[in-house]
Point group: C2
């Protein structure tokens, strides 16, 4: 098993603001993909994230407001199904620190390398959304390679 | 043991150009840190990368021109010493694909989360350097959190 890990710091004193950006449809659409459907604020709910013809369905599996959001991937590329995505939030000085983990990849395949870099880009989009009011969600996301 | 993985695609048909950016002092300084000293083009050489008072000494441990560059970390933060950094290059259509691996972290500590995101940012700096002629090396790197 292999995990993708990231850490970003958002200049903010409100865990609640960042938690909201991880649990509401309109704000998820503002940093990850503008084709987002579903309410992430209740355990058991499904959120559908689409990127053109591809995408993921996430089941909200754990919520500890305002410090933790966790999803299980229930639909998407084979490598993603059965993996877990989590966002842990904590205050540190003038920042909300987000510890990100996309865990339980069966193999460290080339697609996992791609997704690791792409998650960093999207988490920086979340940081921009919170700090400057504007993220770079799909389809206006920063492209990293020939897989986009 | 835990690994950081990334994948970036550089619009280029020259493996050699990207290999050079990973093995020469002046080009490493143009995307990672402007305080770089050492010639990375020979196995056994030491390259010193500094970020203010902190930094890393890397020993070039493997070179397969133009497809692979590998370093062992011989000096730096305790979590880095003994880890391995590798860059694998291959052509795919109009791109040079870079598969990055920073392997053998003893524990997936919070600092590893930070370094994972930061490596993505620096690899995107390398991509900018190769595609547009200008990277964002330290101290002009994009800041990701309160650890920079």
């Amino acid at each position: 098993m292999a995990d993708i890990l990231h850490r970003v710091g958002i200049k903010s004193s409100s865990l609640q603001d960042v938690y909201r950006a991880l649990t509401t449809e309109s704000e998820l659409a503002d940093w990850w993909t503008n084709d987002t459907q579903g309410d992430g604020s209740q355990i058991g709910n499904i959120i559908a994230f689409r990127f053109g013809n591809d995408g993921f369905d996430m089941e909200v599996s754990k919520l500890e407001e305002p410090g933790l959001v966790q999803w299980e991937v229930i639909k998407g590329p084979a490598e993603w199904v059965g993996t877990t995505v989590s966002f842990e939030l904590k205050l540190d000085g003038d920042y909300v620190i987000l510890l990100f983990k996309h865990s339980n990849w069966e193999q460290p395949v080339e697609f996992m390398h791609h997704c690791s870099t792409k998650w960093a880009i999207f988490l920086m989009s979340l940081k921009s959304l919170m700090e400057d009011g504007k993220g770079n969600p799909h389809p206006n996301d920063i492209k990293i390679d020939n897989w986009n």
